[in-house]
């Protein structure tokens, strides 16, 4: 095994990157200036060294608690529950949400051996017990994501907190013609009076 092979193997472990792309990336780095490669290495090293989960919400952060949890402008009485830290970035990009977050770290999937104990459910209950007005369940609208929302809703019920679920339906600005069957079926099921 040469160091070149090592790097190809490392690239190939990344999501969406096959063997061929891993080779292309490796040879691209070998052709470019040594400083370019070192800068990439430093950036990866810094991320591994300094980024960790927020001790309050589980968001990925360099500070602890994270910037959202520490901000005086955020409404701590509303918690938005998401599967992954990357979901926070998507919701933040909307600029519409002023509450705080809670990252579950995945979704229920018994087939993959992921039950409630593998997710950050207990820390969520602890946070809600400290006094929260509303919990918004923003897990993915997949079968597993919906089941996770149902489960979290059920364990929150005894605490008497208001629990809401993100609406699902047709993508705004999209063409009805190009929406897939599941989306249309769900949008029909969730239709409203006018």
């Amino acid at each position: 095994m040469s160091v070149i092979d090592d790097l190809v193997d490392e690239f190939a472990r990344l999501p969406g990157i096959g063997r061929r792309t891993a080779l292309r990336l490796t040879y691209f780095l070998l052709r470019s200036a040594p400083d370019d490669a070192r800068r990439l290495a430093r950036a990866i090293d810094a991320v591994a060294e300094r980024v960790h989960p927020c001790s309050v919400c589980g968001n990925l952060t360099e500070e602890d608690p994270c910037r959202i949890c520490a901000s005086p402008q955020r409404d701590r009485s509303v918690i938005c529950v998401v599967e992954e830290p990357s979901d926070i970035a998507a919701i933040e990009a909307s600029g519409e949400y002023r509450g705080v977050y809670h990252v579950l770290g995945g979704r229920l999937s018994p087939l993959d051996g992921i039950g409630p104990d593998e997710l950050a459910v207990t820390p969520l209950l602890d946070r809600v017990r400290e006094g929260v007005a509303e919990v918004i369940l923003a897990t993915n609208p997949s079968v597993d994501g919906e089941a996770t929302a149902t489960y979290v809703h059920r364990v929150l019920a005894p605490l008497g907190v208001r629990v809401t679920r993100l609406a699902r339906g047709l993508p705004v600005g999209g063409d009805l013609e190009y929406a897939d069957g599941v989306t249309i079926a769900q949008a029909l099921a969730g239709r409203r009076e006018m």
Binding site: S109, P110, L111, V143, E146, A147, T150, D180
Partner: protein
Amino acid sequence: MISGGNGQGKTNLLEAIYYLATFRSFRGARDEQLVRFGADFFRVEGQVGELMDAAAEHHTLSAAFHRVSGEKRVTVDGREALRLSEAVGRLPAVIFTGTDVGIARGAPGLRRRFLDVALSLARPAYLAALQQFRRALTQRNECLRRGSSAAEVEAWDEMLVTWGAVIVRDRARWVRDNADAFARHYAAISGSGPARLVYVSGWKDAGPEDDVEEWRRSYGAALERTRHADRLRRWTRVGPHRDDLAIELSDRTGARGEGLDLRVYGSGGEQRTAALALRLTEAEWLRGAMGCEPLALLDDVFGELDRQRVRRVLELLGSEGRGQVILSAAQPVDWAAEARDLLQVTVEGGRLRSAARVA
């Protein structure tokens, strides 16, 4: 008409064509079993268009499966389909096989599969609901198998009920809407007494088939009732995955006046007739639902069916539409070819050899 000796590749060719309809083997074989020995992958490509209308829209469908990576890639006009439901049904097709009698004679799973394939071809939303339901069911059963808490098991119930209700609503409606067509085809082929289709749900006897809310409510209640038994037996005992499409001989009745089950009381001939009638009903329904002629594939039905039945099928396919028919047979069957203007092809060692038009 494709003819050739045993093991020369007749069924193989029809399987490849039908693969572009459902993206699965009609024999129920797994994708890796469809790859030629010694090869890493297979790829099928087809042009789909209206036979009688050259100006109509044409589509190119392709499917490729790589055995090592287990990756399946389906494209429509060169663009990769992100979901299978985008591509299923682009080629409306119905296949008649020598083993179809199993649908009438065999286990309920074969009849559910018949309904699932027919509905999926014409309704992408049905296929999507089926996939969602299967995911929820597998997860729920895994919870039961592991003996997980009630809250973990019941977390899957809402998805099971949501998609299960769509599935049974669509199936029950299909049976209601196609019962007459089935009875007509059955009578036309057999010339004997009538038979009828009944959708049998394990939890709801009758009622409005169209009301998805009612199905949802009754399925939820049924899951509630079997909750305890599910935990004991460690799997989900009630749902669309346990339903049946019953075929009743309605001219003969049992002690309580009910129609007699064809599986139990039907003769071999009646069962073969029922299977053929189901396929003809499927073809007719696809024609109506998709607004075009389905491609009819007849795989070696001549060994199983007598001359009169095959003739009747070809007449029905020929009289009701102008769709394309591809048949396979061990020997060129002259009298079958007479029924239609057929191109004769022989297949030997996996290669198509000659072509001659029989006037």
